[in-house]
């Protein structure tokens, strides 16, 4: 057999990336590229799935049938997004159930935003508007990610995500224009979700250990700070428009950078939540673990049924 030179393969791989040629599942890729994608895509999938929990909390208590139907459709979409992404991660040779077990054992992370509780109905508005809004900022550039299956999954996700953000903004708009109590509820939700939403973009560029390599591989197209700035720039005027105030006294338009200056993020809180000490970390993982345990008989029964039928027809 011909001896394969890894250096040569790596050079060819990077040339493809530089020319914006997508990498497909059976193509040669460096182990680190594969591992990085398995980590990132599986954690992205976990975020979609865990993200159903804070919103599922309000489905039965939605204020009317329209809101209930919308929230139900949104949560179903999140499940779908998780499934697109688990499929994408399987194309890299990862075992789907193993990646899910990594979530349950605490080895794999998911977006920290979902470790915050949803205390009022207005939180459904804040999540759609801010959390899905921040997710869109992150995901739109991922549609051009160098790995084909991930990029294609993101195209589907982004198309659907835009309804999520709009329905959230609509909830906030209605509440903000409602009774003083309703407006206060909307403002309170904005107060609680604003900073965690900014943290969704991850650590500052100087502290982000994966950014440089991921940009070189075109998995990532913008740095965390660039995306965060973009999010602040578009969201602050939206809040003003509906009469709510972003909870940051340092927010100020800065002509020289054509964007808003904003206050310092509490990174200590971020690392605490990432490290498992957020308000709902245990509850979220526990809910996922129970769902798998309680559903395992269905998985086994369906497999037994299929096996029995195959034997009969064989």
């Amino acid at each position: 057999m011909e001896k394969v030179d890894n250096k040569d393969l790596e050079k060819k791989f990077q040339e493809k990336i530089d020319q914006d040629i997508k990498i497909e599942p059976n193509d040669w890729m460096p182990d680190n590229y594969r591992d990085t994608l398995i980590r990132q895509i599986s954690q992205h999938a976990h975020s979609e799935v865990v993200g159903m929990l804070p919103e599922g909390n309000w489905i039965t208590r939605a204020p009317n049938l329209r809101r209930k139907a919308v929230l139900l459709a949104k949560v179903q979409d999140e499940a779908g997004h998780g499934l697109y992404l688990y499929s994408a991660v399987e194309t890299l040779g990862a075992d789907r159930e193993d990646t899910i077990d990594d979530l349950h054992s605490g080895k794999a992370k998911y977006s920290s935003i979902f470790n915050y509780p949803t205390l009022t109905w207005a939180d459904m508005g804040a999540i759609g508007w801010l959390v899905d809004g921040a997710a869109i900022m992150n995901q739109v550039p991922l549609c051009r990610c160098s790995y084909g299956p991930y990029a294609r999954a993101m195209v589907r996700v982004c198309k659907e995500e835009s309804f999520h953000q709009r329905q959230g903004f609509e909830v906030m708009t209605k509440l903000a224009a409602g009774t003083p109590e309703q407006k206060e509820m909307a403002q309170d939700a904005l107060n609680r979700f604003w900073w965690p939403a900014l943290m969704m973009f991850g650590p500052n560029d100087a502290d982000s250990k994966h950014t440089e390599q991921s940009m070189k591989w075109k998995i990532k197209r913008h740095t965390n700070d660039e995306l965060r700035q973009q999010f602040v720039n578009v969201t602050v005027p939206q809040a003003e428009m509906i009469g709510l105030t972003v909870p940051d006294k340092d927010i100020k338009w800065n002509d020289s950078k054509n964007g808003y200056d904003f206050g310092a993020i509490n990174w200590d809180e971020f690392w605490q939540v990432v490290g498992g000490n957020g308000p709902c970390n245990q509850e979220r993982v526990e809910a996922r673990r129970k769902a798998k345990e309680n559903g395992s008989w269905v998985v086994e029964a369906a497999a037994a049924f299929a096996n029995k039928r195959m034997k009969k027809t064989a």
Partner: protein, 97 residues
């Protein structure tokens, strides 16, 4: 084939967008049998009227060309420009050709 308890088989999903179009690959999913695969494909891949017909194929039944053979398989067609109509000179004044 026996289905293991841990993972249901993987299926590739193909959707026909509307009458007159080919089925097109859209992704994959796991299901215990073909009936469940079609139901799951309906829920996962056609929530927004993306299709009117679904095919599911067990992923392990698909044979694929090897990316390493790309050159030997597809390069020969690159050099045969005479297969394209633009290769030929058509005299001025000739139409319907």
């Amino acid at each position: 084939m026996t289905i293991e308890k841990k993972n249901w088989p993987l299926w590739e999903v193909f959707i026909r967008g509307k009458q007159g179009l080919n089925h097109k690959h859209v992704g994959s999913l796991r299901a215990s049998d073909s009936v469940m695969a079609i139901k799951n494909a309906r829920d996962v891949y056609t929530r927004r009227a993306e299709g009117i017909s679904i095919w599911v194929v067990p992923s392990n039944m698909i044979s694929a060309s090897d990316p390493c053979d790309e050159e030997s398989l597809f390069e020969p067609s690159q050099s045969k420009v005479y297969r394209h109509p633009t290769f030929y000179d058509v005299p001025d004044g000739i139409s319907h050709m």
